[in-house]
Each structure stands twice: as structure tokens, then as C-alpha cells.
Symmetry: D2
Subunit: 442 residues, 4 copies
């Protein structure tokens, strides 16, 4: 056995793969996947993104994107590289710009270039360069576009209207971007079909419920080394993320109390065995508070005033507005920063000490590693299949915002089960008939 | 203290109530609710149907149905009586026919009559009488109708078209009825708006997930006295009901294996920690099989051939087609009926003995008591509020099938929380603004 | 296929068995086990008492009791019959008297007699006959004795001292009996070794934790048809039984609060995620109270005074002293008996209604069916193996009270795993060495 | 509000405390507890070691160690400093040597010296110096001793027998030390009473079950960023630690399979709903394997040969012998070290990749932070109370090894509940009588 340290130096230079991939042109996704080990990928069952890898292999056989030009504006990371590899394996010509210069990994960009993908991105560039990069990607004169925040689509509709005629569809993966697109569609301004790939059933499971659930508690444990068994944990919000957080806190032995403003969600929490209280009551008994509501000021001065000495405050909601940090600062007489990693201690006038994690920002991203690659695998797989669907259907689709077709969601789940080695039943012909007759009511 | 046995003899003769109800005209619902104790109602937190009772009280104050005539075709049971009482408290004049002569409780009918509700129903009547009763209820010339299976609405549209002009809306509470109504609507035949009250979020929680989950295991325990801890339980189907059944089996200490045909549901089951297998693999290891799929022949000869000696078969799906009982009968060399209540033992040629519960019919209805009154409380509360909504909106609604408005669902949940003594948070003005600005994207 | 109803009429007349038992003399236990179907046995994985049946089979091969006379004083039930069959298969000559005339099943007694076991028991006999039966059993001049409450052993030491010289050991299965035996031993009065078979690790698991846990909730559901999801359940006592009850209530969706007087148990409950409160605080919020402490007056007037309208009171502790029923009666202004099976409603002066289940007696025995046969299987299996151990070791044992040897407990667990089809690992020779060296500290 | 970074620079110079401590001489424990923030302490409910702090406060009032000299040989860490502070507050004069020079924190040593505790320890000293330090501590001529591994006690009995006459008792906190002491006692060599403080019910809860359970999964998440939901986790061993690990893995959404060699533990795992298999069967399906048996070679070449590509191997047992790492090295054709922190990838000849965490050493110590301070709080609290008990009882105790008295365990639990704000019930006089009469059998 020969030992070597670090795989990164090696994978980049080799020409191709691939033995068990059957000689397909899958050099990039395969090797990119290897790369994930370094950048936070999760070493799951053999491969970090098995579903997207399987899709890449199929694309290599079926070439659904043959001859299409795709301009993409995405975070330039290892996970994105696997997506780019799958699209290229499907026959596409690709130009990629960064959706945020801060997240660009220059070595990933370099690797992609060596596999003939045009990457217009560099870590830390200024605003002007950022926009120039998008224009450079658009210079490809794309048939399809991939966007993350709607900047590329916006430029197309304002500064590059000459290219609009050639674009027959695209995907957008953020909630914010979808909102902008829907407004454009409502005003009649959107000129081609866009698929809202940010929300599928499989992504919601992996991302919101199970992904955020685990990574939030992971982040809290890393920041505090707190033993959760026997603690009283207040989870503010019982949406998909909130119930994921509540399940994990309960699974680690905590007594969980839920706060809500929606009666239906509150009732569901109660039926699942959680105690439900208003925050002003929960504030009195919590050891640890986790906000995950999507709203602001969920924990306010009036609640901070009631908390126990040593209470811990963490946020798992998208924006850092859920805990009113300004109120905490105003109530404190001193601040001990960094008493633990990502942990600041605020000392109040009455001597109570409140501990704020990650300055009230997303604790799962700041104190842990955010989503495992398994989560991105689901999102990007839906995206790859949505691109193939667009390639096939684009001439039949009116401009507008489309949900990911149900079939694609089912297909992603099917591939994920296959990657996990889980088999399920198939309907017999009699069962198909029975269901059909029942649903049609005949 | 004076002791008396049985409450039924007493409640019927008294004229009114009611101290803590503030002297409202709530004689009927209050007393009807008492009546539930005898007929299978669940002695919950003080009252068996607190939400519907609260709605009845509010109706008594607000009289939203003042002057309206309502013809109803429903099971004539104690729970229905509470609904009738609430509607009457709201100001309606009511005529009630039975939706099934087998379920009619004659003493309930009699009691309702004594409170000035016209009941056209008697247990065990023949088919001609059943239809005559519906006609008699329709003779009221209703403004609104309540239906359970669409028979009354059907007669209105075929034999009593003279009355159609006066009917401005109605509710239908079964899936089967909704299918018929949608066909009528699709053909342009439906002449007034109908609300599909069979499916709300709160009802789905109480009925499908938590109600069926518990009552299924309850029925199995009553039938078998089986200790579930350590048993391997196969749950076929992971819809709302299936996950409820799986949760309860797990909660009783069983190792649960899920079978599915839908990849997305299978994946969800897996992420919740359940083992997922195809039935032909699960058949080898199960101690207890529970079907809850909505499909037929989920357990077939090929599966029965693989099962262990002593395996138990139960169905919690709506129809008795999920276990192929005919195949079981053909494979058996002898049958020992009633080895336990609702338990038949089939002896196969190789000596294995398979135990079929409740002849493959709904085990929660047959071997236990079906839904607790708390479940009917949610359904009938949504129905009462839907009637009030129809009363207010009926002149603005085109013919067609309508979902229960979201607001009604939230209101039912709100009232249920109040009845349970659970308080939740309210949005501050700043939070309302924040959510609004976010959702509108401005 | 031929159908027949009821197995009881048939099994009694046949001479013997039985194919898959290899022709061993196991007629009695095999057929007795069949009999269990009627009398509350649980139709588990093929056989209701598989471990005891396997021991009976082994006894048939190894004849460890060859030539020994055994006098037993036990409940004359189907489960006991299986034990008797196993001992007889082992070569023993047996005389059986009833330990309680109320529990005697005359048809079981008759069946045992037809298989050459002398049964001195009849349902409902008077006190004098009861004692005469014990004397008749002792007339066998036993080598070994089995007792349930110490009556037989007591008579031996007082009225039948002539037989003492022949008795070389015995088993006692109740806590009460063990206390009497220990007093006798302390006073030097006990003349032979007695094994305390009432407490082994396997029995404690099956009986206290999992058995009582399930049957208590089962009894409550049968009595009330209460939907447990979302209810607040107070479990008083967190011993083996209490934690079993708490686990099952939690597993059915309830929010569980534990009360305790022992700080270590309270801390353990807390670390398992339960809320822990004193009863006077829990009384304010509980929907359902379950006492399982082994102490008296756990729920007293001062607690009843605080409870919500509709609160339900159940006892799962051995004696009916845990809920102060007298206090409840004194506080009530009226009583509605039997509002549901095993449910009485006490109406207090302020209008609140409290529901007492099973008159405060063991709710799992009264409202459900007590322990499944699987529990008795563990107890009686330990007893059968203890008898065989006594047969081998009796001449080496001084008079005194002995615990069941650890090996027997392990053997019962091993047989139970085998009956369930569960395989486990075996130590390699290296591992044996490693453990041995570690434990000896060398 | 003024901000400052790091509390360490400040706390050391101040003279005393302490307002809310009532002016007691608790400078050291109070300040030491502050110090924990830096060195891995967990910021729980206000204080990292609240129980030991409370004991220190009581010792300050009651002075149970007034005039006694204590020689201790322990890890010189912040947690130990809190223990030293408590003993000093109780009136003891203390000399402390390190039980391991690698774990000595020099700043803690320095701080303790400034509070008049004689510390003979320095990080990284050689063997000769290490023993000289123990001799220097013994020069105090102690009345009582605290040991961690039995070195100090051993030197007392061999090289410093002159001091033996003055020593009236001590505590030993490791399993290894206890084994040595029992051997000494068996040979009649032990000259004074020693309390085995390594095993109490409260410590077992906090340390083995809940502490190890959480920290093991924490370590695995930090090493792999693996999403546990939906993974198959094999837990080898179902002792206290094993069940803690299994509970946490299940609580994070994994499907857990248990392997065991003890039938009773295997049966218990099964009754708790876990699947139980032998390792050679589990090896085929596991995504993650965690050994926690106390034995060697639990995962061997024959198991590694069966595992899936990508399987992860972690050990939570005390020694690094549970996974046969040598076999893994021999089977591998290459090794990629550090593909993630604490994660090495072994590539086998057939292309499968197995991931070994922390080189097979304790994953909770290596990849996470070991026990939270809450665990040490329980252990050291039992130790402090054991010292006080020895101080009171030492003249009545014969030489030998003693368990921690049950009362001390209860007292630690009681203080922990108080620190957590949990109240429990107290027995009434009637209840005391009832229990007493029952237990005595009168």
C-alpha cells in the first residue's frame, strides 16, 4: 500500500477516466466529484453526488443537449463543477460566470477551463468586473440560461436584448430570483420560459427539513459543546426547517418547545407531542433558543428581559434579523467576544449572561459547514433534468415561470433510491387499472 | 354525592341548559354532546367536540344562518346531532335525512325532533323509504344543502329540478361525492356552488395521520393482544395514513419497514429512518403487515407464500381489497375462525398459519372504535364554518366545486388550540410589514 | 378448505402430536399452547409461548427431571399448563393445586388431568377446600416445589413437617412470597433452597417495561377511545414500569411530563427529554394522569382540586391505593358510572368533571387483557430452567433464598432471540482472551 | 457597553469575588469556572459546573475538611481546578501533582498556586520529573489522597511507607486504578480505605449514555459532514455507551442496526425497536459503523471484505483495538490521508473505498471535544462529596475498596436538578410509612 496525502494535486493533471463508467466522456464530473473531498463534501456511500453523477452518465449516453449553448451564472464551486460536467456530457457548450465573486474557487474555475468550459470568474473581483464576466458569458449567444439571483436574466432583458431572440428557456434557483421573474411575467416583460428550480419536494426534504435540521444542531454543538440531553430548547417556527430543527433537537435528548404564529402549524406541532407556547412564556424556561421563522424580531427585548442566566441564542433563518441583536447590545453592560468559537457572551445589568451564536447569522453555515453535498446533489440533479426537459420542450412553452415538472421530482427520487441501494415496489397492471379507474371515478 | 348509572335517561327530558353557556339557545348541542359518552365518544378535555361546541355558541350570538333553510343528508348519529345543533343555533331551519339507514341511531333522531329539527330517518328502512326520506327533506325547499355521497344533490338535479332555483350552495363530505360533483361540473350540469369539505389540512392531520395511525394500532392490539415491542411491522404505503400508522407502530417499540411504489414517498420514509423494501423482500421478515395504500392486491399470493408462520395481516385502507383474501382462502387447507376477536387463522398446506384480522376490512373501524370524536370535531367544524361562509358568499359564487377556504382551516385550528388551552404568538405590526414586503418582493 | 369455528372443542380429544416436533412426548405443551388462543394469548410469530415450548422440547430430549416429584401451587391457567407440560416432558411427576381458586380454568384443569397430571383445583371453591387441595398436592411427597405466594411452602414448614426431609428445593414467583421466605431464612426457619424467580433481567424487560408500558396505554384507549396525540400525559413514577408507560405515551404522540420523588430517576427522565415537575404543578396541565409508583396517595385531594375539567385518572401500579379515590368521592357532588366501559365520571361542586378509570385499579388488567403471553413465556421459561438447575444442584445448595442464576437469564434471552429468528455474534477465541485478560486486570 | 475579547487576561489578577456568593471564600472555584470558557467548557445554563460550584459554596459554609491535608494526583486542567477550589473552600490544605504531564495546563497550575494550592506539575516534563512531582505532593504528609491511575497510592505503599500511617483514606477515579486497588486489597496489601469514584449511576448517565452518545455523533459529523437521515448506521455493542450512541444516531434520522454478543442486551435492543444482526450480515448494508464494545477486532478483515464502497468506520470504545486497522491497511492498495479532517480513505484492490475516522481511536475525543463540562461536573461532584464522606467516616472504615455510597449519588442528582431548576415531589409522612411497611414486609 502506498500512502499519499491530499488528492487535489493529482486529479487535475490526468487526462481522463474511467473503467467502470464505460468509457464515457465523464472525465470532468467524475474528477470534480473527487475534488469535493477537500471542499466540504460529505464522504457518503462512495460518492458525494451520486445522483448528479448518474445523470451525467446518462447524459453521456443520450446527449440530450447536443449542440445547445448554455450561459450560466452560478457560484463557482466544486458542486457546480459537477453540474457543469453533467451538462457538458449531455452535449452542451457552456460559458459560466460567477453569481457571487466571494464564493468563487479559483482552482475549480481553472479545472473547468482545462475541460473546455469557458469560465469567466475570479475570486474577489470588483463590481464592474463581476458584470463584465456576465456579459462575457452571454457572448456565447445562449440557447438556454442558468441563473442564481436573476442578474443574468435581467441583463439579457435590459442590456443584451439583441440576444433575447435566441434564448428559448432557462432555470433560476433562488427564491429572490423567482420573485423578480414573477413580477416580470406579471408585467408581460419576461420573454422566455423560466423554470423555478428552487422548490421541489425532494429538495425541500433534503434541504429544509433534514439538511437544515442536522446542520443547525451541528453548528450549535460545535460552537458550544453543549450536551443537549435534558436541555429545554425553544424552536421558533414550525415550517419545514423548523420541524427539522425540532426533530433533531428532540432526537438529541432535548425537551423541545415550539413557538408559532400560524394556528395550523402550531396544532401540528402539538399533535406531534411538542409543547407549544408563546415566546414570552417560553423565554422563561429555555436553555437554548433557535429561530427559524423567516420573520424579523422573533426574539425581542421583552423576551431577552425574561431569560435565564446562560441562555443561548441561535438563528437558523435565512437572514440575521430574527434575533434583535441591537436590543441585546443595548441591554448589555459588557460583551465577552469569542468565549467559544462563534460564541459571544453578553452580560446584562442584572448579571445575567446571554450567549449569542454566530452574531445571529445562520448558525449552520457559520458554525458548521452548511449543507452536505447530498443536499446539493438533489438540487442540481433537478436542475440538470430541468435543463434537459427545457431542451426538449422549449419550443412548446410560452414565456412564464414554470414549476419543475412532477416527473422530474419523481425521477430524482428514483435515482437517489437507486444510488442508496433501496428497491421499491412497482404497480402491477391490475393495480394501474384500479388506480386509474378510481381516480377517474368511472 | 349521589350516584347514577347512565346519562342517557336523563338528558332527553330536560328543556334547556346552561349556566356557563350564558343562557344562549344551545340546548341541543350541549345536550347532544353529553349523549356522546354513550355512543363511542371520547372523554377528552371536558367535552368531546369542543370546537364545534364553540362554533355553536358563536352561531348562537351571531346568527349567521338566520332565516335560511337547510336540507341535509348525513349519518344520523350523535356527532351529526351536534352539527345540527350548531346550525340551528345559527338561525337555520333544518330537515335531515339519513345518508345510510344502517347507521341511523333512532334515539338521536328522536331527540333532534324534540328540538324542532325535522328528521326523516329510521334505522334499517328499505331502499324505497330511504329515497322517500330524502325527498321529504327536500320538501323544505332548501337554500343550502349538506350531502354525504351526493345522493341528495343528484336527486335535486334529476327529480326535483323545480327546487334548483332556490338552492344557492352546499357542502359534500365524501371523496366519492366530490368525484361525482366534479364530473357534473365538467359537463356543465352542476347548478350551484358546492364546497368539498372532505379535505382540509386540519382534518387530514386529525383524521388521516393521527386518527388512523392510533386507531389502526388500537384495533390490532384489541384483536391480537400482541406485544409490539421487538416485532417487525411492515407498513405498505407511506401516504398521510401510512406515515401515521408507521409512527404509531414505531412509537410502540416495533421495527418498522415501509413498502411504497412512489419514489418520493419512499425516499421520505427512508430519511425518517425507516427501512424501505419491496414487499417480496419484506414478506420474509414481517411479524405484522398493515396495508394502507388505497390500491388493491398489495399483499398477493406470491407474498403470502413467503411469510413466516404466525404472520398477522391487517388492512387500514378504505376498501377491503388491499389484502388478496381470495388468494389466502385458496392457499389455505383449513380455517379457524375467531381464534381471537376479529382474528381468523388460515392454515396453509405447509403447516404455516397466517392470521387475518377483520376479514381484511378496515381494522380500525372493525376491531377498534374508528375515529375518536375529536376527529369528527374537526371535520364538522369545518363544515359548519363552510355553511356560514356559503351563507355570506353564495350570491357571489358561480356553480362549481370549491375547496374549503384557507381561512376556515386556520379558524378551526385556532379554535382547537383555544379549546386545548394552547396560546400562540401574534405578529407585531413590524413583523406584518416585514412579511408583506418580503412576499410582494418590494 | 374446511372452516371450523373455535379450536377448543377439537384439541382436547386427540391423543398426541406431531410431525415437526419429531415425535417427542410433547402432546401436552403443544396442545396447551393451542388453547391459548381462546384465553387471551397473543398470536405472535406462530406460537404464543415459543421459548417455553422450545424448553419443553429440549426437556423431552434430555429428561433433566427424570424421576422427580414436583408439587406446585400456581394459577391454573393455560399458560401454567404449558409450564406443566414442559416439566412433565422433562420426566417429572406433578401434582398441581391452585394458588387462587378465582383464577382456575376448569377446562384447563380437566385437560391436564387427561395428560396424567394430578390437578387438585376447581374454580370458586371455598377456603377450606382451597387448603385441602394444597395438602392433596403435597401428598405426592415432592422432591421439588413451585409456589406462588408462599402458601404451599408455609404449610410444608408448619403442618407437613414430615415431608420436609424429602424436599430439596423450590421456586417462588411473587414478591410477597419472597419477602416471607427471606424472613423465614433470616430466622433460620427455611429448610431448603428456594429460587426467587420473580425478578430476572429478561422478565423485567418484558413484564415491567414493555409489557406494562403497552398494556397500560391499551387499557386506557379501550376505556376512553382518547386520541393521545397532542394530549398532556402525566406519568407519576419513573421506575421500570413508569418509563415503559412514558415511552408508550410519547410514542403515541403525547407530551409526557414525569413526576418523581427520587432525584436520580428524575434526572434520568429529564435527560431522556421528559419534562419533570412536582405533581402540584403537573396537576394544572394534565389531560391524563397515570400513576405507577408503588406508593399510596400519589394523587390526592390537593391535586384533584387543581385539575382541568375532563381530566382522566388511571392507575398502573400494583395496588389500588395510588389515586386517593376516597378523596375523589368526597369532593364529588355526583357520579355518573360507566359513561364508557371502565370509566366513571365524578362531577365536582364547581362543575368540573374528573374521569376515573377502572375504579383506580390496575388499568392494564381491568380495561385491557394484562400481559400478553409473550411476557408469561419469559417468566415461566426462567422458572422451568430454574427447576432443572435445582434438580442438578439441589444437593449442593444450603437452605436460603437464591436469585435466578445469571446463566439462566442469558439462556432465556438466547432462546427468545432464536424463536424470533434473530442471530447475534459470538466471541472469537482472541476476543475471549482479550476480555478475560482485561477483566482479571493482568 | 464595553467590549473585550477573551476573559483570561482579566480574571487572573483580581483578588476576590463575589456578591451573590455571599462573601464566602470561593474566589478560586468561582474564577476557575470562568476560566472554563476558554478551555472547552460548555456554556450551559449560566455556569459550566454548577453542581460542583454549589458543593464548593456549601463546603465554604460547613468546612467539612477543616484541617485536613490532601495530596492529589490528577490531570491539571480547569475542571480539576474547580474541584481543588471546592476542597480548599471546605478547609483542606492541598498539594497537587499531575497524573499525566501531557494534559497539564500551565496557566491553570499557575492560577492555582496564586490561590495557595501547591501545584507540582508542568506540561511536558520527563518521566523522572513526573515521579518527583508525585513525591513532592506526598511530602505534604496527607490525611487523604486523590488518585487517577493509582500511581500515587502505589508509591505510598512502596517508596513512602513512612507516610502510610497518616493516611486514612482516598479516592481513585479510573477503572484501571480500581483493578490495581482490588488486587492489592485481595492480597491484603492495601492499607487504607479507597473509594472507587469512577462509577456512579449519575456519572454513568451523563458520561456513558448521554455524554458519549452525543459526542460520538458530534465527532462523526465534524469529521465527515455526513447527513445522517436515511443512512444505515451499525452500532456494535449495546452497553451503556452503545445504547447512547444508538439513540443519538436514531435521533438524527438514521436507521440503526445493533450487533451484540450478549443475548440479554441483544434482546433489549430488539425490544427498543432496533434491528439486530450479526456483524457479517450488518457489514453488507452499513453506511457507517461505530464500535463501542470494549473488545478487540469487532470489525475484522472478513467484515471489511463485505462492505459497500464509501463505508465509514468509527470507534467510540476506549481503546483503538475495536476496528482491526492493521487488516484494513493490508487490504488497501492506497491510502488518501486527510480527505477530510480526521478522515483517511483506504482504497481496496477492487476499487472500494473505506473511510476510517480518527485512525480508529476514540472519535468523540479526537474529532470532537470529548465530554462537555457537564459530565465532569457530575464526576467531580461525586468525588468532592466522597472526600467529605471519607473525612467523616475514615476512622470507622477498614482498608479496602468502597463503592460511592448511594446517598452521595442521590445528593449529586438532587443538586443537579436544583441547578437545572427542576423541582420534584417529596414523600408525605404517610407515604414514608407505607413504603417502609412494604419493604420490611410487615
Amino acid at each position: 500500500m502506498t500512502a499519499r496525502t491530499g488528492v487535489a494535486l493529482e486529479w487535475r493533471d490526468g487526462p481522463t477516466v474511467t473503467g467502470d463508467h464505460g468509457g464515457l466522456d465523464l472525465a470532468v464530473p467524475y474528477r470534480m466529484e473527487e475534488r469535493l473531498w477537500e471542499s466540504g463534501g460529505s464522504p457518503g456511500a462512495g460518492r458525494a453526488m451520486p445522483v448528479l453523477t448518474a445523470i451525467g452518465e446518462r447524459f453521456g449516453r443520450e446527449r440530450p443537449l447536443e449542440g445547445l449553448r448554455i450561459a450560466a451564472c452560478l457560484h463557482v464551486t466544486a458542486e457546480t463543477a459537477v453540474l457543469m460536467g453533467a451538462l457538458k456530457a449531455g452535449g452542451a457548450q457552456i460559458a459560466l460566470a460567477a453569481s457571487n465573486p466571494l464564493s468563487t474557487q479559483d482552482d475549480v474555475a481553472e479545472a473547468l477551463r482545462s475541460y473546455d468550459i469557458a469560465v469567466h470568474a475570479r475570486a474577489g473581483v470588483d463590481r464592474a468586473t463581476y458584470y463584465r464576466h456576465i456579459h462575457q458569458a452571454l457572448d456565447l449567444a445562449p440557447d438556454l440560461v442558468l441563473d442564481d439571483g436573476c442578474d443574468l436574466v435581467n441583463i439579457l432583458h435590459t442590456e443584451r436584448t439583441d440576444l433575447l431572440g435566441g434564448v428559448s428557456g432557462g432555470c433560476e434557483e433562488t427564491t429572490t430570483g423567482i420573485i423578480r421573474l414573477r413580477q416580470m411575467a406579471a408585467e408581460g416583460a419576461l420573454r422566455f420560459p423560466m423554470v423555478a428550480v428552487n422548490d421541489t419536494r425532494t429538495k425541500r426534504m433534503f434541504d429544509n427539513r433534514y439538511g437544515t435540521g442536522q446542520s443547525t444542531l451541528d453548528g450549535i454543538m460545535r460552537a458550544t459543546n453543549l450536551m443537549l440531553a435534558g436541555r429545554t430548547v425553544i424552536v421558533a417556527g414550525f415550517g419545514y426547517c423548523g420541524r427539522g430543527v425540532a426533530e433533531r433537537a428532540k432526537g438529541l435528548g432535548a425537551r423541545v418547545i415550539v413557538t408559532e404564529i400560524d394556528p395550523v402549524k402550531a396544532l401540528d406541532a402539538s399533535l406531534q407531542g411538542y409543547e407549544v407556547r408563546p415566546m414570552e412564556s417560553a423565554a422563561l424556561v429555555g436553555d437554548l433558543f433557535i429561530t427559524v421563522t423567516g420573520n424579523r424580531d422573533v426574539i425581542r427585548a421583552e423576551h431577552l428581559a425574561l431569560m435565564r442566566d446562560g441562555a443561548i441564542l441561535a438563528n437558523a433563518g435565512h437572514f440575521d434579523v430574527e434575533i434583535d441583536v441591537r436590543a441585546l447590545e443595548e441591554m448589555a453592560v459588557s460583551l465577552n467576544q469569542g468565549v467559544r468559537p462563534n460564541t459571544d457572551e453578553y452580560v446584562l445589568a442584572d448579571g445575567r449572561r446571554l450567549l449569542l451564536l454566530a452574531e445571529g447569522r445562520l448558525v449552520n453555515l457559520t458554525a458548521a459547514e452548511g449543507h452536505p453535498a447530498a443536499v446539493m446533489d438533489m438540487s442540481f440533479s433537478a436542475q440538470a433534468l430541468a435543463v434537459a426537459w427545457l431542451a426538449a420542450e422549449r419550443l412548446n412553452l410560452a414565456p412564464g415561470v414554470y414549476d419543475v415538472p412532477e416527473d422530474i421530482d419523481v425521477e430524482v427520487a428514483r435515482l437517489k433510491l437507486a444510488a442508496t441501494g433501496i428497491e421499491i415496489d412497482r404497480l402491477t397492471a391490475d393495480q394501474e387499472d384500479y388506480l386509474h379507474s378510481w381516480r377517474t371515478g368511472s
